[in-house]
């Protein structure tokens, strides 16, 4: 998985609780991304980062926030989890410019 780890790999939480997912890379890549994958919707971009402290929204950013305080870590936070955020979350990385994105192993999140 191209030097990308995600934690936790599985999580069950209750509606209304905060949840933070972590993506860690050892490739020193500039770009990092968070996607969610749901049946019938494929992979959809939540947020991405193009450098430390530089982030932007994707197509499904409502209810999510991100932070990137160092090159190797990109955090995704659900401030108050809802059942509609039950999904599999993937982190991806790429170098600068038009380069291939490499994906992590995913985090399976269940919000009850």
């Amino acid at each position: 998985d191209a030097g990308i780890t995600q934690s936790p790999r599985h999580k069950v939480t209750e509606t209304g609780t905060p949840v933070t997912l972590r993506c860690h890379q050892t490739e020193n890549h500039r770009y990092m991304y968070w996607y969610r994958q749901d049946p019938g919707h494929g992979l959809r971009l939540i947020h991405y980062s193009y450098g430390v402290k530089d982030t932007d929204k994707g197509e499904v950013s409502d209810g999510y926030s991100v932070s990137r305080s160092k090159t190797e870590d990109f955090l995704l936070t659900l401030e108050s989890a809802t059942s509609s955020q039950t999904s599999v979350y993937f982190c991806a990385i790429s170098g600068s410019g038009m380069e291939t994105q490499y994906f992590g192993p995913g985090t399976r999140l269940l919000v009850l």
């Binding site: 998985d1 770009y31 991304y33 994958q37 049946p39 019938g40 919707h41 494929g42 992979l43 959809r44 971009l45 991405y48 193009y50 932007d56 994707g58 599999v88 993937f90 991806a92 790429s94 410019g97 038009m98 380069e99 291939t100 994105q101 490499y102 994906f103 992590g104 192993p105 995913g106 399976r108």
Partner: protein, 111 residues
């Protein structure tokens, strides 16, 4: 467990035959395309990419063809093996290196 769509188009292919997976993309301004393979319970894995100034690119047992006129991309897998069973996604790369994924095709290899 399976993390991708339950109603994906499915291609059943006999082991040893060639597979062709098709993808239509939406943005005529996209100039970079990627094919990914996703096995059950894993993240998408890069297979091959192609830039819009090319119409064909070959890798190991895989070939990607790009037809910009009709906005169509295909992935050909030669001598399909059981390990090729997976869901295959095409993706087009837009501004800010953002990927837009196609819906995916499930490939089932029959022994």
């Amino acid at each position: 467990g399976e993390s991708v769509g339950l109603h994906l188009p499915t291609l059943s292919v006999q082991e040893g035959d060639n597979s062709i997976i098709n993808c239509a993309y939406s943005n005529s301004a996209s100039d970079y395309f990627i094919w990914y393979k996703q096995e059950s319970g894993k993240g998408p894995q890069f297979i091959i990419d192609i830039r819009s100034n090319m119409d064909k690119r070959q890798g190991q047992r895989v070939t990607v063809l790009l037809n910009k006129t009709v906005k169509h991309l295909s992935l050909q897998i030669a001598a399909t093996q059981p390990g090729d069973s997976a869901v295959y996604f095409c993706a087009e790369v837009g501004a800010g290196n953002k990927l837009t994924f196609g819906g995916g095709t499930r490939v089932l290899v029959k022994p």
